[in-house]
């Protein structure tokens, strides 16, 4: 038997997790190690929705795949419901995975096109609970009702291609919650859907999460979506969590220059005036030290060393020397203030209101003179 979980256990805990890939070719002599994740630590507590934000290649999907046990980390430990999953045998992992539900990005690819909806949805009950055909049938109908696909008996007979994108994502959610998992991982669940449909799907996700009492890891590139749905947010950049904290705190008052850059890049925050200027970085990305320093307008000599995690307010952490002692960069503080004023309550980043606010231009356009160390 596995050790019994402690009384107050995190649902999911990553402890200094690293994942490295060997890249390059033996024959061309350019073998190297690609560090997809570098010292990633976070936890998800019961009932919590945690947002994971980052651009392509930042390591979002690697985190999701390690959390599901599909990938094993190179170092560090991963605990799901109190059990180490990074060292588990494949057979034991399979039982642990019943505690996990996964909603993928593309409902056109995540459902087997040759299986009827009933076959897709009864599989978890067959594999994990060995229910009889009649019991499975009842469970499938219950699930379809719960995700708003009624009459359930009609939808159960259909094939995925007979459903719209929103309906397919409802089926994917039904499959994810079939075994009432403690943790839902939603990887860009609505990015393939139209805006008039995505709200319906997100509301459904929130409904089922409340009913079954699960926690959620919500992976998204869309800061506005994360702001609306998540309790806490982790910002991932090149395999490191560079900023994290309560969503309202992080997105109202971001501190890491990369988070600042993400925010001013969102079309809803940009103004047409900002389109006039143009800044390009063509250098190869930095290695060692702070990984954002070559694109950072506030880079200092000490950025050659990896910064420690600074905690500005309780729970709000940032991997940046700007938060260290004896550092005072006025341009950085001004930019934070500008972003904070736009993001304050009542001035949500909707397409309607964004024009009415001052323009927090990304200071890359005029490289600032940094004071401080």
């Amino acid at each position: 038997m596995l050790a019994a979980p402690a009384a107050m256990t995190s649902i999911l805990r990553f402890n200094v997790v690293a994942k490295e890939y060997d890249v390059g070719s033996v024959f061309e002599g350019n073998r190297a190690v690609l560090r997809a994740l570098d010292g990633v630590s976070f936890s998800i507590e019961p009932g919590e929705t945690v947002g994971l934000v980052g651009e392509s290649g930042s390591g979002k999907s690697t985190i999701a795949r390690i959390a599901t046990g599909l990938l094993r980390p190179t170092s560090g430990s991963v605990t799901l419901l109190g059990h180490r999953i990074d060292t588990l045998s494949d057979r034991r992992l399979r039982t642990q995975r019943a505690g996990l539900g996964f909603v993928f990005q593309n409902p056109y690819e995540s459902l087997n096109p040759r299986h009827r909806i009933s076959e897709i949805l009864e599989l978890p009950f067959l594999v994990h609970q060995r229910l009889s055909a009649a019991e499975r049938n009842k469970q499938v109908n219950d699930l379809l009702d719960r995700v708003g696909l009624s009459p359930a008996s009609d939808f159960a007979r259909k094939l995925p291609h007979q459903l719209s994108g929103g309906q397919r994502q409802r089926v994917a959610i039904a499959r994810a919650i079939a075994l009432r998992p403690r943790l839902l991982i939603a990887d860009e669940p609505v990015s393939a859907l139209d805006v008039s449909i995505s709200g319906q799907v997100l509301n459904l996700l929130r409904d089922v999460q409340e009913v079954i009492g699960s926690s959620t890891l919500f992976i998204s590139h869309d800061l506005a979506l994360v702001q609306a749905t998540c309790d806490r947010v982790l910002v991932l950049h090149r395999g490191r969590i560079i900023e994290s904290g309560p969503t309202a705190t992080v997105l109202n008052n971001p501190s890491h220059p990369y988070t600042l850059r993400l925010m001013v890049s969102m079309p809803a925050y940009m103004t047409a005036a900002q389109l006039v200027t143009d800044h390009e970085v063509t250098s190869e990305p930095a290695i060692g030290g702070c990984l954002f320093r070559d694109r950072c307008p506030f880079a200092m000599p000490r950025c050659n060393q990896t910064p420690p995690l600074f905690e500005e307010t309780p729970g709000h952490q940032s991997l940046c020397w700007l938060l260290g002692a004896n550092t005072d960069v006025a341009v950085w503080r001004d930019l934070r203030l500008k972003i904070a004023s736009r993001m304050s309550v009542g001035s949500k980043p909707s397409a309607v209101t964004a024009t009415a606010h001052p323009d927090p231009s990304w200071p890359l356009d005029n490289p600032p003179a940094t004071s401080g160390v």
């Binding site: 008039s196 509301n203 993400l262 047409a272 909707s350 964004a354």
Partner: protein
């Protein structure tokens, strides 16, 4: 006022399907003036991409424009022969699509793909075309241009590939650029860079823009005049300033509200109930009626697209017109 550069009028595009005909675009008008930046907003299935393909005469069989006209620089594109179209496409009208990888030839260096486009459409020597291609790549932020020109598409990132595609589209100095979701597949910081470059270069070349997107915030950023399509019909159009601050059509209002990602106290998003109609069997009257919070009896009849306000806005909604 001068005649518009692109004038689409009464356009109807149909696709034959198994048991019925699907009318993707149903009697639509759209104009792009010289130097203007026009946005076309709509969700999947609204007909916006079909419209873009017809405007560049790139619609493939079985889709067919069954009614209406597409006038470009005073010539009717729909009645032009293939040779005439080839002359216009690339040199007068250019298109950029969402997915740059399918657009580029994986076996040819990107510099050659750009210079080839120029050689096809203008009488210039190979070396002149190459020099211009390198300059164009640099202008789009692919530096050093001479090095980037020697790369193959798979050696470039998604954002770099999209820059190459834009270079190919603009090297012939077209009068009109039709961009269909040009940044949808890209990361937000890359999207911002590309929108900056695109905005700068079309201003420099004096190229008009027809930007098609589902993303209202991108459209707001780039365009001065906006059209909104729903279920094959144009439901509203007007100057960006007015459309974003005082949208008239309930669909435009709902779309703006939904894309703001506002949540209520229970963290539930605003949603538009229901789904768009099946265009093989479109409902009588207003096509948004069954999802509309303001539905009235008269909505069973089709509303005309009529002027509202004084800024040139039009809306197809009975709320804004006498019955």
């Amino acid at each position: 006022m001068n005649a518009p550069l692109l004038n689409i009028s009464g356009l109807r595009v149909q696709y034959p399907t198994g048991d019925a005909t699907l009318t993707a675009v149903d009697g639509v008008d759209l104009q792009v003036r010289e130097g203007q930046r026009v946005g076309l907003v709509g969700e999947s299935g609204s007909g916006k991409s079909t419209l873009a393909f017809v405007a560049a005469r790139l619609l493939r069989s079985p889709g067919r424009a069954t009614e209406g006209r597409v006038d470009f620089e005073g010539r009717d594109l729909l009645s032009l022969d293939e040779a005439g179209c080839n002359e216009i496409r690339g040199s007068r009208i250019a298109m950029v699509y969402q997915d740059p990888f399918t657009f580029l030839n994986p076996l040819i260096r990107v510099g050659n793909q750009v210079s080839e486009t120029l050689q096809t459409h203008s009488r210039c020597s190979r070396s002149q075309a190459r020099t211009q291609a390198v300059m164009m790549l640099e202008r789009l932020g692919l530096r050093p241009g001479a090095v980037m020109a020697r790369k193959h598409p798979h050696q470039l990132s998604g954002g770099q590939r999209q820059r190459v595609v834009i270079a190919m589209a603009l090297i012939g100095r077209p009068r009109l650029l039709i961009a269909d979701e040009p940044t949808t597949a890209l990361d937000v910081t890359v999207q911002a860079q590309i929108l900056r470059v695109l905005s700068g270069i079309i201003a420099e070349l004096g190229t008009s823009l027809l930007l098609i997107s589902h993303d209202l915030s991108v459209i707001r950023l780039m365009c001065e005049f906006i059209y909104v399509m729903y279920a094959g019909k144009m439901v509203e159009f007007g100057p960006a300033a007015e459309l974003f601050t005082a949208p008239r059509h309930p669909y435009t209002q709902a779309l703006l509200r939904a894309s703001g990602h506002d949540v209520d106290a229970n963290r539930r998003f605003f949603t538009i109930p229901g789904a768009p109609p099946d265009l093989r069997r479109p409902p009588e009257g207003c096509r948004f009626a069954h999802r509309c919070p303001h539905r009235m009896k008269i909505c069973a009849r089709s509303p005309a697209l009529l002027p509202v306000g004084h800024a040139g806005s039009h809306a197809a909604c009975w709320l804004h017109q006498p019955p």
